[in-house]
Symmetry: D2
């Protein structure tokens, strides 16, 4: 197979989504897990998994189903046979750290001194190498290459001297540097934890007798659950038959929310830490209109993420909004072309332009980012071919300049078009008549003043130390 990400040259990926469900009345949670994960599928399409247990069954007996592919491919009638339980965790994955293979699928299901433990993680640990070495020096063996196994080991070790598993989680977190939103299932408890910087989201929902932990609130909506609240950065929540308990001892006010969750990763119908993702995109569009105005006839967004910002731009500028693109919904984010089908532009297969919308018009085209620039150039070209007289590209984020170590796959160094080119050079390379990025100093406006966020990919100001293996060179 000639596997290719359809927008491969110009897309960045979130690395994971996590989900946990605990039904206090003993009802089966499989359906909630299935549809909840379905709603998080955009956070990872390479592999996925579900693990369930029955708090009233044989203690700690875990049944799981994991595999490469989408939820709908992995969780079939056949593979779900016998999967039943009133507590469970699920995971969708795009392989960032840890190679893309069946061994690395999550949730990680394991036995330790207190029985079973199932862990699903979103994020990336900075000091995983040191932690792994430390464990190896005491004789540990590793069967995967994912950070989650390192976290699991540390929880298991801390458990030896802790009264509860949640205490062990908190103690283990003190050793972890980096980004992690965790959902953990122990035989009688569902635990959620979020790193103190709060890089990636994690929220709590409720539906009848079920508590739900999820990467995004959209997963709560999908299963008709109510949003209860976000897990705080640094918080460990434990849900058992008696309710929710919270340990906020690691919470600080020093937050570093991934700004790209708002700009691109998260679903527009999610709220993260109280902020509507949709509104933040509308706002990004409005700011772009303020800071990068242009005389034009129509504003169009590159689907799907560019549409909200385009609408914001249109609202702010008064230029009419239009939908210039028709998307082929049978192309997933990951699209496998048979070898025999000679190489063809993936952009062309995925998108078509409606000349009716752009012909003879000056077009403002809004996209969320430019990575390598190749896709952007193709789309500009398609617009012009369809009759656009001018194409003014507006990007609802600042230029990418630095790699991300917190769980997204922004490419490194020279692959980033903005690294070695001025904005005008980029404009020429993509064939646009003008090009404007969101200004760095307006980032905070899109999520609200006072919300700490991480903009390291734009600034190189990493909120944590960097991985041991990163040379000075690579960072910049």
């Amino acid at each position: 197979m000639n596997k290719e990400n359809s927008y491969i040259t110009d897309e960045i990926h979130e690395e994971c989504g996590v989900l946990g469900v605990y039904d206090l009345d003993g009802n089966d949670v499989l359906s909630t897990l299935y549809y909840g994960l379905f709603a998080l599928q955009h956070r990872g399409q390479e592999s996925c998994g579900i693990a369930v247990s029955d708090t009233n069954g044989p203690k700690g007996k875990v049944l799981s189903c994991k595999g490469m592919g989408l939820i709908s491919e992995v969780c079939t009638d056949e593979s779900l046979e016998n999967l039943k339980g009133n507590i469970g965790v699920g995971h969708v994955r795009y392989s960032g750290a840890g190679e893309n293979s069946i061994h690395n699928t999550q949730p990680l299901v394991l036995n330790y001194i207190k029985g079973t433990l199932c862990i699903a993680q979103n994020g990336s640990i900075i000091n995983t190498e040191e932690l792994r070495e430390e464990l190896e020096y005491t004789g540990a063996i590793f069967q995967t290459t994912i950070d989650t196994e390192v976290i699991a080991y540390h929880i298991a070790r801390e458990r030896l001297t802790s009264k509860t598993v949640e205490e062990a989680v908190t103690k283990a977190m003190k050793k972890l540097v980096g980004a992690y939103s965790l959902v953990i299932m122990s035989p009688r408890k569902l635990i959620g934890a979020r790193d103190p910087f709060g890089f990636h989201p994690l929220c709590i929902g409720r539906k009848g007798s079920s508590y739900i932990l999820a990467s995004e609130t959209a997963a709560l909506n999908a299963v008709d659950a109510e949003f209860v609240r976000d897990v705080l950065p640094g918080e460990v929540v434990m849900i058992n038959k008696d309710g929710i308990y919270s340990d906020t001892s690691l919470c600080t006010n020093n937050h570093a929310r991934c700004i790209f969750e708002y700009i691109y990763f998260a679903r527009p119908d999610s709220h993260i830490d109280g902020v509507s993702v949709y509104n933040s995109r509308i706002m990004a569009g409005r700011i772009l209109a303020q800071t990068n105005p242009v005389e034009a006839d129509v504003v169009v967004g590159v689907p799907d993420s560019g549409n909200a910002a385009a609408l914001g731009y249109a609202l702010e500028s008064g230029i009419p909004f239009g939908m210039a693109f028709v998307k082929n919904s049978y192309v997933g984010r990951t699209f496998i072309k048979p070898k025999q089908a000679a190489r063809t532009s993936s952009v062309r297969i995925k998108l078509n332009v409606l000349p009716e919308v752009v012909e003879g018009k000056r077009v403002v085209m809004i996209d969320d980012s430019i990575v390598r620039g190749t896709t952007c150039a193709k789309i500009v070209k398609m617009l012009k071919k369809a009759g656009a007289t001018e194409v003014h590209v507006r990007i609802s984020s600042p230029p990418f300049l630095y790699p991300c170590y917190y769980g997204t796959d922004v490419p490194t160094g020279d692959q980033l078009i903005a690294r070695n080119n001025t904005i005008d050079q980029i404009r020429q390379m993509i064939g646009a008549d003008s090009l404007g990025y969101l200004a760095l100093d307006r980032l905070n406006d899109i999520i609200g003043k006072g919300m700490g966020y991480c903009d390291a990919c734009f600034t190189g100001n990493y909120p944590t130390k960097l991985p041991k293996c990163v040379s000075k060179e690579e960072k910049k």
Copy 2:
């Protein structure tokens, strides 16, 4: 498997898409076939197939690959192994007439007196029963239950007394009553034919040395081909190494284009017989705004087909356009739920509402049709739950009252909500504050005066006689 069409209760389906490619210079056409069919996938997701031949190879040797599922599932590296040729036909299918099984996949590949013939059809023959019986009375055997086999037989018989295969096609067409757009591959020729009423579209494109026949112009765009012209209703075109030949002897001025191709089936980026599908939807929205005005704060379209009409409504009415729905792109039109995932509202899984767009607002919601009413009711409810103070439903087509016998699967009789209910009763059933349909007498406005169209599903005025098996009762 608990197979279910996601919008099962309120969706109608097109039954097929066809494609043919002939490269005069002998270049391989597999890639063009593959991506062209990909662009037609919306016309049928149940099965598909490709057949190719080499005009310079062993005469009439055909290689094919057919199966249940999407193009990306059926046409894999493994199944396409060895498929090579400079002439080929392809098909995507939603099973209307003829059960849904592997035996009924197209293109139909056969041998007859003059070698091989491969036929792909979009549409439905009215007199198939009579034609089949007639053949059986001379000893014919049938291995499928599709109309295409009956057509093939008649072509084979006419071929005995015709000088060319295209002549045989024309003669056979004289016996066929109903809707058919055909693409036929004979060892050295590619033939396209469209029924004299022109129910379904068929167009001609060109890319370098390749001629292309396709159900929609969007397939031409997808492979970077130029649109040459539409095949005329009643026309037979034959493409061989010397160019295109046309037989218009069956053409008349009595056309009956399926109006629903414009309203819903076709891609908005296609043009059918010179009319932009996108523009016709914009126009439907405009007309709705003129004929069914309402005071409101935002106009939203039910994705994907409702968006263009919503934009039209917004433009005409001056009410702002909004995008209230987030669609889960991992749910196909056909969505298989594992049995273990207890029944959940398919609408909920597929769509979520953005409260940011509708909260506290009077909403005009545009959809293309109401079949049974259940989906519409759920969406109205979702909007109200998200805070819409009023929901005014506008439908960009007249009420469905009669079954279709020309290749779409509009349900029969009592399943149609409009059959037994007044508009106000329907309004109540779907929970809307007001409900308006496109008026019958404005239908012609959306495609342009003088374009003959079929509105039998709204009026019961069928342009042809009806199938023998249809009782008077059933028709009405």
Copy 3:
């Protein structure tokens, strides 16, 4: 995939097995079909199929399941879902005539003037080309390349002027030249027919209220059915709710049973036309001992088919019988090696020699045939390497010299080692110390005087005319 028949260079194949079941009391016959076909799997491993109907259900509604591979691969829980009925036919296939593809799987399921018809065939028609052409000249279309479709057409045509389907079968048979054992299911009847020469076997069994038609009696044993009788060469039997009816109008005394059914194809536990296959092999071994005696210490048979003849040789000669070979039972007749596993001797993987049996001994090695000689040479070498001081090869059939046109795949011309080499040259090529074949004039002794048989592959005396396409050259 690097598909390879494990004994590819020295094996010949039967081309099919057929089965039919009709339960007069309306009981489901799926289980009988499944296990009956299982017992016939040795007659064809490339594809298989089952079709069933319910004589009390909607008239002529047929459900079928066909595919490439073994019964156990094709007939799975999923594919058999809903297959129910009290009448059914089944087929296993090795592709002889007609390419190896899904289109050519049997039973052929079709509709004709009288409803449905399902046909399964074992054998090969000589005049298929003429019959096909004749049909094409009246406008017939062919969707497969198997003889069975031609037979079906003729039955359908004859049916127009016949009172019953069995009469049509008889009339059609008058036009067919060649080898065929047919099992046919019409909505209310099960029909069996065998060509007048009786090339291939077909027998009738009974189990409770079920009548069974099967290629071999071993299939009757497998389902605990009683053997009733063989279908006579030239006979048409029809089973309906009133019992069995027989039409022997085409029967003659001029029979041409395939002698290789006894020597190799059929299971040793089958009886064909009253003759025990096992006994005929024992007898072949005895005759070899009489005509090709040798001083030796042990007699061994090449598994599996050589064992019975080896036992016969041992009994006749007084030389002890031994089992020198260990077979790897995880290698099927058809064995797919991954490309990555570099080419290795298939013989070695399949067979190992027990030095304990042959070391220091003079060995008589019995095999059923030598085709190209390569496998035989490898086995002789293995025996010598294991310490055999002498290897005397005895073949329980005469040398292959001519191709078979009746449904087995004896290779043509120069691929046959005996065609261009004397017996002593062959002996040298396979490295044996002596070599003896069964004498032509003793063939009749192995099945009993008076039983007409076909020995065309040894003598070139074909009982019928040859296919039009066979040149004089090729025959010899």
Copy 4:
């Protein structure tokens, strides 16, 4: 799926086969691994795996392919893509200890302080529970339920204080109680180890520049390798680029070879510790003839394992040997019946009797064991139905009375027919005219005086302490 072992009621299973290959010249070993495992398939059909590395590539980079099913199902072109290396290990498994799931497939591939380690094991550890607990008390986590993971952990821990990995293996072995034949791949070494009792076999072979470690010598034959020698009970061998090194420090003279390897598990063409498996079976038959003589007309063996003993009985008694059974080679040891195929006797499907061999005769029927007695009873009945006038059953092992804790799945307690019935009662239950078992005191004669063996399943004399979890009750 209605999965069923075909002889489920009367079969016992070996639990695993192991293989390792190291090519000193850097040649790829995949082909040797593949065909070697193929020859060991009889030792485990539930799951299998291969892991390879390149001693000249990136240090310790391991590529693996594991899955449920046979070698030919798991190791396909697709799954072996990219698997290349000059060192590798393989495993076939029947799930004994540790549930039957993908998580428990071997080889176990892991990372530890010194890089990668891949371990394949045959056998069962008695003190696995204690060892696991001990590890958990220091914070270990377990991702499988197989003993091999416990062994791996101990090797990793011992490695911290050892100079070499082979030293760590030796140290770890001191803690292990039970049966284990191990093949271990470290980045630059191939290691083999066998428990001091030598329960299960392990041998060394050589083919050109490749060293091979294998469970049975038959695997060496299959890849045309020479047998070098057996790994001694208690020995650790290490193969690196400089040759083979041996550590015999744990070797003793107190051996407990599994006697059932000779009687049933191993292939007859294997030698274990210098003893021919074939000869030991011949000898078992001879002893049975001496100790349990009977007047009869023919001796037959239940295939496949009963044949050699039957030949021994025939040779010793002078009664003619016959082959009464025809086996359906399309039924594997594990056979999945579709649900739809109503329950049918698996014995009947697998075996058929040749009346020609037994009709009117007094038959001695040799089998290797009786577990529950049901299969034996069915076969006796089949022989009588085929006309045998008397059936005298002779079993080439003593009666099973006790469970096995060393890696075979002899059922426990009351499922064993011999536990609660006298020999005469068993005779009656199976319908035999007489019944004789191999005498306990003659066991040593079949493998040779002085060879220590384990007969715990017959005597309850376990050579080691028993698992903590086994109650006194259960042992007896």
